[in-house]
């Protein structure tokens, strides 16, 4: 094989991979928003549907906003999605996730808030590792989960305002903690969200 032939091969292979690499990054850029939307929609849509009880006409996942909720150890901002439900162009509910600690570990709860009345609209558990049949009973219980709806967001959720599900105290407290965190974020960043 002559040197010239060899160089030609290297050049062609580089050219082919270069052109395709460029093309692929273009496709990636063109699709990345849609892919992110699909991923969030697939994971969060069931919880959103459960949490938001008021009627709305838009797609809350499409109308999401990213807000900064703090920084991690290395100083990078932690961002969280806030989903906004509208009817006839007016915001009727916003939903965001809060996290607490249950019996088995981290608990995530999607909390829907009605901003004009400053009350909780509804909640739904998104992430959990609770004991099946014990902690999960609390999450499925209408009477326990339903207590949050209509509660004002200004005061704390522990203590006497919510009755824990008997037999699953840790899970109940984890859910209360998560709801409280989510409502705190909303109260602090109300202007930015709306």
């Amino acid at each position: 094989m002559s040197l010239k032939e060899f160089l030609r091969m290297v050049l062609i292979l580089t050219l082919v991979t270069g052109i395709w690499g460029g093309l692929l990054s273009l496709v990636k850029i063109a699709t990345q928003d849609q892919i992110e939307y699909q991923r969030i929609k697939n994971i969060k849509a069931p919880a959103l549907e459960k949490a938001i009880n008021v009627e709305y006409t838009n797609d809350p996942v499409k109308a999401r906003k990213k807000i900064k909720v703090g920084t991690d150890e290395s100083g990078n901002p932690i961002r969280r999605n806030v989903f906004i439900a509208k009817r006839k162009g007016r915001v009727v509910a916003v939903a965001l996730e809060g996290y607490g600690t249950g019996y088995g570990g981290r608990l995530g709860v999607m909390v829907a808030i009605r901003p004009e009345k400053r009350i909780v609209d509804g909640i739904a558990v998104t992430i959990y590792s609770e004991t099946p049949g014990v902690g999960t009973k609390a999450m499925k219980s209408e009477s326990f989960m339903g207590q949050f709806s209509g509660k004002r967001i200004s005061a704390n959720f522990g203590g006497n305002r919510i009755d824990a599900y008997s037999g699953a105290t840790y899970t109940s407290e984890g859910i209360m903690e998560a709801v409280e965190k989510a409502t705190q974020i909303f109260s602090q960043q109300r202007e930015k969200i709306l």
Binding site: L13, T17, W20, L24, T31, Q34, I35, Q38
Partner: protein, 204 residues
């Protein structure tokens, strides 16, 4: 025009993959549990096959023979990545169902095989016809096998229930070993039909 039709139609019966031309068997067995996933993967394969056949045919004189396989592989892998991104963006449920089988289109021997055996030696219009024919033939084959497995295995077709609710489904056909057995029987059936057709021809 007639030669283009010939190249297209040979993919539909005479050399239909994967039955006549036993190439690309792995996805044939894996995604044929449901008709919708078979059709989805088939469309992905048609796209990749068209792109690779067209490009290989256009640049056949520029690509040095010694490095043609790496160049073909880059072309195919990139086309597959495009399919992967598009499917994730616009057909998310299908993307979740097909999972690992979308990247695996890359190693589907059918695609590299057509590039190597056909597109490398033929003009563009014939290569396009060949790619389309082979792709459509592959998709139809997958759908036939999937229809059989889905209807008998669980009594549904495209997710719609066809058979009465009292039909409990022949679950074996939905499981992996059932896929092998179904494909074996289908191949035997095709052998039988084509040997009958040969007999008729000789009778004339």
């Amino acid at each position: 025009m007639s030669t283009m039709w010939q190249e297209f139609s040979k993919g539909l019966w005479k050399e239909v993959p994967p039955f006549r031309f036993v190439l690309g068997l792995c996805p044939t067995l894996a995604v044929t549990g449901k008709v919708s996933s078979a059709l989805g993967l088939g469309c992905g394969v048609i796209f990749v096959l068209m792109v690779s056949n067209t490009l290989i045919s256009i640049f056949k004189n520029q690509i040095p023979g010694k490095i043609r396989v790496p160049v073909f592989i880059v072309i195919i892998a990139s086309a597959v990545t495009i399919v992967e991104l598009m499917m994730e963006a616009y057909f998310y449920t299908l993307f979740e169902v097909l999972g690992i089988w979308i990247p695996l289109i890359v190693v589907n021997c059918l695609i590299l095989g057509r590039g190597e055996a056909f597109a490398r030696k033929n003009p563009v219009h014939l290569s396009v016809a060949d790619g389309l024919g082979m792709g459509v033939g592959f998709t139809i084959s997958l759908s036939v096998l999937a229809s059989f497995r889905e209807i008998i295995g669980s009594g549904t077709w495209f997710g719609l229930s066809l058979l009465p609710a009292s039909y409990i489904g022949f679950e074996l056909l939905q499981s992996p070993p059932g896929a092998f057995i179904c494909l074996g029987l289908l191949l035997a059936l095709i052998n039988l039909i084509s040997s009958k057709m040969e007999d008729k021809k000789q009778g004339c």
